[in-house]
Symmetry: C3
Subunit: 282 residues, 3 copies
């Protein structure tokens, strides 16, 4: 390994694990860089949901080894969007489409310091497919970066300010309550909400207090607990999730099922007893 620049490539996509897309990309990377370790971060991003992919990637990268982060959620594959590699301040490289997927992760790693268009025909498959550029363009670039290719060999430099960014939905604070939304639903049915725990504390919501919550037609008072089992089984609880956001949960159950909620569901949340609850419209 001594002559590799990076030992690991981490890999996130919306490819799922039912097809062979992920395995074939592993094969392509290991043919080029046989000693690299590939970490599958997550391939369960909802198909073509760039926002979800960007969010999950940004939350994951601080926990991954410094290295190459390959990320593919690419509804515009083969059309106008650019294939790119972005270097972050911690020394990592992010490889994927220039559609907003990579920018929040680069920010989490200290910011993007440089970017290149992937256009060197020697660092991709001959005659790359128009519909599976993960295999033919992105995986080869990630492997060559792990091996230690000079960045200028990838292609033209791009201004980091010119990279495509997503508009991120921010919660609206009105009358003491956040008008927020579900930004992630995990396997357990926990509903992460785009309100961070620091902002929540400033608005008077801290662990141990009672919260007024409106979601999918339900209006109720829910304890803000330290963890799921701060309430009895099958009871709802708000917790701080593992990324510092509020999450609506049900102890030993699924909040998604309990409330009929899903990605994008609107959530009104504030301290119990404040007036915000009466002004909500959902």
């Amino acid at each position: 390994m001594s002559n590799y620049r990076y030992r690991t490539i981490s890999f996130l996509s919306d490819y799922g694990l039912v097809d062979e897309f992920v395995g074939v990309c592993h094969g392509v990377m290991l043919r080029i860089a046989p000693e690299v370790t590939v970490i599958d971060v997550c391939h369960g991003i909802r198909p073509q949901n760039i926002g979800e992919g960007a969010n999950v990637l940004a939350q994951a990268v601080p926990y991954l080894p410094v290295g190459v982060h390959l990320a593919i959620v690419d509804p515009g594959v083969g059309a106008g969007r650019l294939p790119i590699a972005v270097q972050a301040a911690d020394g990592s490289w992010l490889v994927g489409p220039d559609n907003g997927l990579l920018v929040p992760a680069a920010a989490r790693l200290g910011g993007a310091t440089s970017a290149r268009k992937l256009e060197n025909p020697e660092l991709r498959a001959p005659n790359p497919s128009r519909t599976f550029q993960g295999r033919d363009i992105f995986a080869p670039a990630a492997a060559h970066l792990a091996l230690g290719v000079a960045p200028e060999e990838l292609g033209t430099e791009l201004a980091v300010e010119s990279l495509v960014s997503l508009r991120v939905a921010m919660p609206r604070l009105h009358d003491g309550h956040f008008h927020a939304a579900v930004t992630h639903v995990d396997r357990f049915g926990n509903l992460s909400v785009n309100v961070d725990a620091v902002a929540a504390a400033e608005a008077g919501m801290t662990a141990g207090s009672l919260l007024a919550v409106g979601i999918e037609g339900h209006r109720l008072t829910i304890p803000f607990g330290e963890t799921f089992s701060s309430v009895p089984p099958a009871e709802p609880v708000v917790t701080e999730d593992s990324h510092g956001q509020l999450a609506v949960c049900v102890n030993l159950g699924s909040a998604a099922d309990h409330f009929g909620a899903s990605l994008g569901s609107k959530v009104l949340i504030g301290p119990s007893g404040s007036s915000g609850g009466s002004s909500g419209g959902f």
Copy 2:
């Protein structure tokens, strides 16, 4: 690798593969122990089903390299249950919550020989999350054990007799028949039953014989075959599963679908023609 104590960490959980939980734990482990190989044993344990997790882990460990076995099915995360590491007689370490998940696997590996509470703040993330201790407590401990940390650095020693154990449902033998239950349903719809083949043989059920089986309202005679294709396609067959238990199967089909059965379904099973069939109540 020469200075690592163990080359592999195997990893079982109820995290599923749709979210990034598993990938983030891989990242945490490889940041600490970059040369370790992580084996994903299974992440499809039903959410928070400790019994299923304990059963699958115990069946898997004899086939895994001696090393660190990280297992997380943890409905009490962040509350009173202890995070622990348990050493087994074969030299392996089991890391996870003290809720019964680890004990049957330790028994399968020759028995637990020592146990430690995981409480050293230097061997976990700063400010560990209350809801994702796999990332912040268990994965770091597993990686440090692979590297070779001295067990006494993990935390206080615990008596192995004090570890939490699950009550295991045993089948009841009455009038020549076993009153048993489905303990596992696999991807193919095969229904493993908590009757082992040795006990079955003692009760007169051997490959080649006919069995009387009652399950989910069905009462029928099923051959005990050597393998699935001992019967014609779409026909039911009882086989010995790969862990030495009886399993109700359908050749080229799903017994779960065929009988409308699932985890926990009651099964009455005995030699055909004996009287037990008439006394069953389901």
Copy 3:
């Protein structure tokens, strides 16, 4: 690694990832060959669908490192079919059941050059299970081949002409149109059809032209685009898939849902305006 014959074992099966079957096979292989890298190509083959497994394996192998390819889709497990290893002209070994699964992949790698029956009791588990031979016969053989076992130690040589082959459904060209079928449905709902792009071009279907397509009761004219986004969102498009076959797709949507189509659905496809469309019967 210097004394291993192959550095990687790639692994395809219909085991799914909910159970521990895949993880246990990883464990078995790493106990025998601790330094090997195992690539999970795909474990989402539909249960016992040998044809789908053979097709996916053959499409994947050119992108995998030369090494051992372990493939298990095995409805006849434990019965008459032989466990085999087949060497291909590129130096790779294919390990699995002799039921047609391996032959198309061997052909893609230059053809089968030799084959062996797996029958050496020292290279498998003692008392192998009749229902989980992946664990007890195939995974051990793959690991021993990676280590460098002499092929003659595996067992009796078999004539490569004697290996079981599947009959492959070929499309029928009639009156300028292909009477074809859906041979793969991917996670995105893209429908691959058994018409390759070269044959399509010879029949007058090239990117940029309009095609007449009949599928599941729908009859319509669809553009043959360079990629998905050659048409507006939610519109159908025919593309060349990443293996050179035609695929019926919907931009930013699922063609499977749009047309109610699935694996095996019949597809009539030809140039728009030709007469074939009027003679189709479905």
